[in-house]
Symmetry: C2
Subunit: 690 residues, 2 copies
Amino acid sequence: MKYLIIFLFASFIASAQIKKEQLDVMPWPQNLILTEGTFTLTKSFKVNITGAPNSRIFNGATNFLRRLDGRTGLFFDQGFITNTNEVPTAQLQINCVRSGKIELYEDESYLLKIVGNKITINATTDLGALHALETLLQLLQNNNNSYYFPNVIISDFPRFTWRGLMMDVSRHFMPVDVVKRNIDGMAAVKMNVFHWHLVDDQGWRIEMKKHPKLIQMASDGNYYTQEEIKSIVKYADDRGILVVPEIDVPGHGSAILTAYPEIGSKVVTMNSNTIENGKQSAQIETYSVERNAGIFSPTLDPSNPKTYQLLNEFFDEVCPLFPGKYFHIGGDENEGKDWDSNPKIQEFKKKHNLANNHELQTYFTMQLIPMLKKHNKELMGWEEIMTKNMSKDAIIHSWKGVNEGVPAGKSLVDAVKGGYKTVLSNGYYIDLVFGVEDHYTVDPMPSNVTLTDEEKARILGGEATMWSELVTPSTLDSRIWPRTAAIAERLWSDKSVTDINSLRKRLKTISFRLEELGLTHIKSKEALLRNISNNQKNVALEDLSNICEPIKKYSRNKGGTEYQMYSPLTLFADACTPDATDALGFDLAVINYLNNKSVENQIVVTNYLSKWIKMNVDLIQLSNNAPLIQPLLPLSKKLNDLSELLLLKIDKKQNVDPSILNDLLEKCNTKEHADVELAVYNSLKKLVQA
Amino acid sequence: MKYLIIFLFASFIASAQIKKEQLDVMPWPQNLILTEGTFTLTKSFKVNITGAPNSRIFNGATNFLRRLDGRTGLFFDQGFITNTNEVPTAQLQINCVRSGKIELYEDESYLLKIVGNKITINATTDLGALHALETLLQLLQNNNNSYYFPNVIISDFPRFTWRGLMMDVSRHFMPVDVVKRNIDGMAAVKMNVFHWHLVDDQGWRIEMKKHPKLIQMASDGNYYTQEEIKSIVKYADDRGILVVPEIDVPGHGSAILTAYPEIGSKVVTMNSNTIENGKQSAQIETYSVERNAGIFSPTLDPSNPKTYQLLNEFFDEVCPLFPGKYFHIGGDENEGKDWDSNPKIQEFKKKHNLANNHELQTYFTMQLIPMLKKHNKELMGWEEIMTKNMSKDAIIHSWKGVNEGVPAGKSLVDAVKGGYKTVLSNGYYIDLVFGVEDHYTVDPMPSNVTLTDEEKARILGGEATMWSELVTPSTLDSRIWPRTAAIAERLWSDKSVTDINSLRKRLKTISFRLEELGLTHIKSKEALLRNISNNQKNVALEDLSNICEPIKKYSRNKGGTEYQMYSPLTLFADACTPDATDALGFDLAVINYLNNKSVENQIVVTNYLSKWIKMNVDLIQLSNNAPLIQPLLPLSKKLNDLSELLLLKIDKKQNVDPSILNDLLEKCNTKEHADVELAVYNSLKKLVQA
């Protein structure tokens, strides 16, 4: 009888009309019309491709089939999908008019129809078709015993042409497989630009055959061979993604200058001996690969012809590895200290009528333009490159905001009004470990400024920036995903798609599904907690991790010197993530309870409080055999103390002295323990003040 | 007060004398003497290296430091360890007399002393020093707030010189990072031979610049570039590991013959048309990359000079990629069907006085010896290559046993008596998914045969074989680890080290620690279960996975055609592993209870039974939204029914009809559901029969 009810219930679900709210599609399509009925998947499901697409669609469709098979366990008969139009009767028919080009403004649109027993994808290019396949995977539904797609008509295209993710592989090197799985993640949410920050103070990461000193002296052995770079570019191309390399100059120069100190700007401080010995002219400052985080003074010398000669040679070797049209030359955070203190450079400025260091940097940057032009590349740089003489061909990468003392996105408006194309990253700094909402609400199109259509068209899109001072290959994915999927939606979907609750609900499924690409944002946390708990059963530790978040902005690793680049990022703060899951659940429970103090609503809240009291006891127990848990006990104790008192107040209806309660509450508002903060503080405050 | 007690207890632990039984070292060292006292780790811990070692020890020691830092979170000051003897006062002093060679019989011994505030490692070669560092990592202890090593003197060396792991990357391709992390795992348990099975019916995996057809037609795009191969060989070398490549010929030839059908043995069956058209001589059989598992007939033609010409060219291109002395040419499972039916080959046999196919294969194999000799390589092959005319330089790889209808290890004895060196793999077939005990009890040195010292010396060691018909990059690690650590111990430690309880206890920690190398044997299971449960909280599914094991031997994928090489291995059987953890716990509980039916012992048993009853309810609930759980319900139901009745019998002391009980028990002894079996059956049987 029990079974019968279940089966009846199940078939009820199967035949129920699916609603848009049930679909966990991200980015949300431009147009989506649900119609009645479903398409049920079976073992005989097949794919056929027609038209004149690039061969990447055959790999893409084969990968699609394998992912669908992995989810459903249906054991599809079809193995590899080829270009021989071998299954004209296949249920899924893909037609592409022409081969897609991996460049901006390419047609990425698609039309996906699921009607009756037929699925069709029509796209101008294979890039659109690849997007359609990702949408199709996201449309997958199931009841208790089968998998199906809803009947639907989707016509879709991106709002912005630049939907990027930047990955810094200098501060912490990221092996090839880590890069590739994140490129898969990008493709799954329809991003199309991988900005690869390959050079910074902490390391040069590109194999250089003609300048081997760069990897011998400035990579610690952690670099990509040229073949690996080509394989990553090919991997990205296969997924419709453009790779934009970055060599950050003239600042952030420690690694380059470790290998080539002769093009540095710093003047050697002479002692009397060296001068007496007449060695002045032979003296060169030495540099070393930076181990700390921060802004450092090593800067290339813009007055030295050798600087340009070497950069020209670097570009000659690096540019051919990247078929794309753009090359990012950094240009950020050059404070000019070593320029100011170098008489030769001061003289050079005077000679060339350069009024200040900004003009000097423009002079420098302008020399790079023809070097890149030669390789058919356009220059892109962080917003500091935008000064009055900068070429209008350059793309301005807008990154500064309130943190840097300027209005958010100011440089973006300045750029488009000045005639530059621009990409927004301010607001998309995912390394700040803010919650997803903070990024989702940032739109590249400014709402408070009136722009002409021409100016608007210069806003290419946006880019999430994953700086890697505080991430390793083990934690990188959890800092990128799932939040970057929300940024991807902001850059693809219509401006009106802004419902944060819908986002959070869909993001939960999207995050789960990203795991099938090998991304480790979920399972790496489990491994980190296992290490912290010293392999003890660790529900309590998990519970704590679900209400704690790493401290935000750049408040961790104060001054950049507390941690070195080789420091262990295996701590509790590394296991925790933004948008702590239980904290979101608790927020909702408190809102519901304060709206309606029903018994049911009260129980949900008090269950959390009781859980945290038990958690504290368990953590103390665990800590007996796990030194890494010790630093968490003070925080857990604070939450325990407040929870106990709140239980008295709520459950027992006792009068609790508000000043004691407030005192305990404020103790929970700490960032002093283990580099984390309690993400439940705000809701606790509501409870205390209720 | 609570805190005070904890701290007192903790300091009691810290000062207590450590016992050998507490140490989770594997392989267990040849000599280990514990002395009083401990060495406590602090942030200022440093390493210094002296002597004349190979540079691999500097990487190795740096990796050691990072792993230790990752476990302890101590933020060691020291970044990179170099050869400049820069920290003469370091607490850990490593001295190596000379550079180790990556070859058999090299000195791998070490002496590790931890006394007072000093740790010294003395080794003839850096290979011994690397082993010492792994031992040191395994010696790490902790109390509640600090990490320390016990004072100890260990002098250690391997029992066998060949301690191998074979990885089949043909059936399922394994990406570079998967190979590398498993090489790290090997090094962690002191294994020293990586046998790389690169070619089989299902694919050719080596980039061939002069014969590109092999990868174009027979790899599905899944192959290692020559640069990747070199980087893996270098990676292995850095960890003291020899790489032995295998190209399996003349059988297992589907991939080679897909590219070069002209050297195949199969005769084309002519129809009258082709003969009439006089096209007979131009007709060649076509082959295709195999998608199923099994033994297939495509075999190279030993009578065709082109066969040898091509193989010679293949070896010319492949041999230089591998600096090691050995090349494995397979030679197994050639059933000779295509030889028997080919008149040209029959004629060839007669002409060369070859009595049978074995002699023909020997003829074939003998042609390969000079091809390899040219590159300074010795030939190794599976035991089938050992026939009376085979060169005594060849190494015989013993693999057959009871499964194949011969006594276990027969060929090993035959080989050494026949004057051949040999390596044992029978008994180490980890792809059969047997429990660890089955492998641990197999010793390469036969106990039932008397061998001379010379014959014994020909037994080089053993090799775990990871055939990959039923593994993917996601599940490979869980099929290799942790069981291969037990095989590593068998091959390194003294023959007398055989205590299975000690093994199991140590293996638990070793398995946990292997995770720090990036191995996914633990976390991949969690991800697979997440997929099966459709992202629902899945304690019940985990509980079931902890008492289920994949069905053993080659009973999964019956006939080799149920699954194809592209089939989804994302099922429950893929998530389950040998040595199911809860089953081991239940075994012990039942033994204790049957020895002494105390209330305490009874509760432990009945708690399991109750857990499985609740599990069944929860699984039904989960299955409403997870089709992949449906196939597990019948098994869970059977266990539920028996558990309910056993509870009545044990808890309520009710009389239960033995025949009903036996009937329910036998239903639990099934292999019919979802490719798994209940690992608790034997202990349930004991309970039923008690």
